[in-house]
């Protein structure tokens, strides 16, 4: 193995790739602008939609309750609802979003309030629909307040203090610093984006340097020189790795800036929801560095795997057709960090991609399981070494290089 030859090949590939628009787009433009922009748009749009939905005074329908005029009057007096005339097709109206929710007040409800034996109120909403959910939340708050007042009156009538129904209060306080809150909120998304971008960053240089060269006839030109096959593979592989790591580096810088903006958006959107909500989440710098360290072996793994796959292909088009299903294969374990309730264990620590996704999520939320980290780093490095050895093996095979 000659480092001088590897360096010469790497230098040439780097120069060549920097002149290739497709590689520049996949390793610099997309990670820097498009992904964070998409993320920003989604988060901003969600914040605006939720905020607008909260501002809306929902149209609701009161079903029944003809003998409970006081309740109806109180509902109107709050100013938080627009009461619609009861209609037989109220379900259709909720489905069509003409009415956000309905409340069914059974006969004799108001009269029975004073005796403490009032029948149940039923709230109707369209589950999964944001504005309908918010309307029901408002209705629930109204009837909870009504119940508290009724309880207090009943107790007062019997000469008992109101506190007897609420002997103690429950308070909540957040102990997590802002960066941990940010880590918990966004910890699943950051590794998801980074791992995917790392893969796409490796993809285009790999296609260009292997199948692309075969197709253009430059591979045969290169094979005529006395450079050892292993040196050629390593020189090219280093370029593919550079593509993967560049995508990660550019996306990390860009994501950090985006998260600052997103954090303030979330902070604004959650203001007034208690002390935790008022906090502006940020991302822990140590967590980011940890993610970067864990992405390193996975970048090597991805680079070697895509190198092997693209090397096998006869043309860039064929390589592209192999890459598409491979992206889907990566997305599944990569997205595991986005799922709630999945905790890292030693079995999962051996599953490539999923392990990094989960451990990165943990690191960003301030949890550092050194045992898992060591197993994940070690196993991913081992898989990467195996994939690289396979790339060297394949490059020596005439059936692969001169595949027609």
């Amino acid at each position: 193995m000659s480092w001088r030859v590897i360096g010469t090949i790497y230098g040439k590939e780097l120069r060549d790739s920097l002149r290739d628009k497709r590689t520049l787009v996949s390793t610099i433009v997309i990670p820097t602008f498009i992904m964070p922009a998409l993320m920003l748009v989604v988060v901003k749009a969600t914040a605006v939609i939720v905020s607008k939905a909260r501002e809306e005074i929902p149209r609701i329908m009161v079903l029944g309750g003809a003998d409970s005029p006081g309740i109806r009057a109180e509902l109107e007096k709050t100013g938080k609802f627009r009461l619609e005339r009861a209609s037989a097709d109220w379900k259709a109206l909720i489905s069509n979003k003409r009415v956000r929710a309905a409340v069914e007040i059974p006969a004799g409800f108001e009269g029975a309030l004073g005796s403490g034996s009032a029948p149940a109120i039923t709230l109707y909403d369209y589950q999964g629909e944001l504005k309908s959910g918010l309307a029901v939340e408002q209705l629930r708050n109204f009837f909870t307040g009504l119940r508290s007042r009724a309880t207090a009156r009943l107790l007062a009538d019997r000469g008992l203090p109101a506190s007897i129904a609420r002997p103690f209060e429950v308070q909540e306080a957040n102990v997590a610093p802002p960066e941990k809150v940010g880590g918990n909120l966004m910890g699943g998304f950051v590794p998801y984006f980074l791992i995917l971008l790392c893969f796409t960053g490796a993809m285009y240089p790999a296609m260009d340097l292997t199948a692309g060269e075969k197709e253009r006839g430059t591979m045969e030109t290169l094979l005529c020189c006395p450079a050892a096959r292993t040196d050629i593979v390593l020189g090219k592989f280093l370029m593919v790795l550079t593509g993967a790591l560049s995508a990660v580096a550019f996306s990390l810088i860009s994501l950090s800036l985006s998260l600052l903006i997103i954090g303030s958006t979330i902070g604004t959107a959650t203001a007034g929801m208690g002390p935790a909500g008022a906090m502006t989440p940020t991302i822990d710098l140590l967590g980011i560095l940890g993610v970067l360290a864990m992405v390193l072996p996975i970048a090597v793994l991805f680079s070697a795997v895509v190198f092997c796959v693209c090397l096998f292909a006869k043309s860039a088009k064929e390589a592209q057709s192999y890459m598409t299903p491979l992206v889907f294969i990566i997305i599944v374990p990569c997205g595991i960090g986005l799922l709630p309730g999945i905790d890292l264990n030693y079995h999962l620590a051996l599953v490539p991609v999923a392990n990094v996704s989960l451990v990165c999520k943990e690191m960003l939320s301030g949890v550092w399981h050194w045992g898992y980290i060591a197993v994940i780093f070690g196993s991913t490095a081992l898989y990467a070494a195996a994939a690289l050895a396979l790339a060297v093996f394949m490059f020596r095979r005439e059936g692969v290089i001169f595949r027609t």
Partner: protein
């Protein structure tokens, strides 16, 4: 010097089974001589030349190129061979200078030697006007000159040409033929594959006619004509590879 000894290459194809790309090919080329490998498409010319250039490993047999065995010392063989074929393309995004420099470095030339060779080749091939232009922007003739410079940047003892004039216009093809002659003049061992009879007749000292992977006849053009009783090399070729087709 090149000495091929029973070079055989068997390809295995799922549909067609075993294909003998070269079948016991033997010949010898001395320095300062041009050996023409004459054959139709698919006759085994490229397979044989790729084995000599160590791009393919022989299934059996071997060859000694510039004193090195193609099976046991492929890296040393490549260091002493210049291989030019229609299939050996240029890197489109590199300039002609970058392309030649890259291959000079890969062939182990130091920077001063590389600069000197570059200057010499640019003078000889009249490349100064386009040395810093990207290969994708070059004309066919300029590309061919760049390919030649890439092939001989390390001044190899042995030159292998695999149908180098295929698809080229007359003027560019003539410049290639001239260059091949110059290689002979400099004492290099040259092997030249073609299916253009006139080229072989003008250029080659010895011709080997290859058909279905095997050398069917060998000798100077005059000897082949005498042996077959034909006045024209094309008729000689047809009589050797397909007697039924001969006049």
């Amino acid at each position: 010097m090149i000495e091929a000894r029973l070079l055989t290459k068997v390809f295995r194809d799922k549909k067609r089974g075993e294909i003998r790309g070269a079948d016991g090919v033997s010949f010898r080329v001395e320095p300062g001589r041009i050996y023409g490998l004459l054959g139709a498409n698919g006759a085994g010319k490229t397979t044989t030349l790729r084995m000599l250039a160590t791009l393919l490993k022989p299934t059996s047999g071997t060859a000694v190129v510039a004193g090195y065995d193609v099976v046991r010392e492929p890296d040393r063989v490549r260091a002493n061979v210049g291989f030019l074929a229609t299939s050996t393309a240029l890197y489109a995004r590199l300039t002609a200078r970058e392309m030649i420099t890259y291959f000079g470095r890969l062939n182990g030339l130091g920077e001063p030697a590389l600069r000197e060779r570059m200057r010499l080749l640019a003078d000889e091939l009249d490349m100064h006007d386009f040395l810093d232009r990207r290969c994708e922007k070059l004309s066919t003739g300029m590309k061919q000159k760049t390919s030649i410079a890439r092939t001989i940047i390390h001044d190899p003892q042995v030159m292998i040409f695999d149908e180098p004039t295929l698809g080229l216009d007359v003027m560019t093809a003539r410049s290639i033929v001239r260059f091949v002659r110059e290689c002979r003049g400099r004492g290099k061992t040259v092997i030249y594959s073609t299916h253009v009879m006139s080229e072989a007749e003008k250029l080659c000292d010895v011709v080997g006619i290859i058909h279905e992977g095997a050398i069917r006849a060998e000798g100077t053009v005059a000897e082949l004509k005498e042996r077959t009783g034909e006045a024209d090399l094309e008729e000689c070729f047809v009589r050797i590879v397909c007697p039924k087709e001969a006049k």
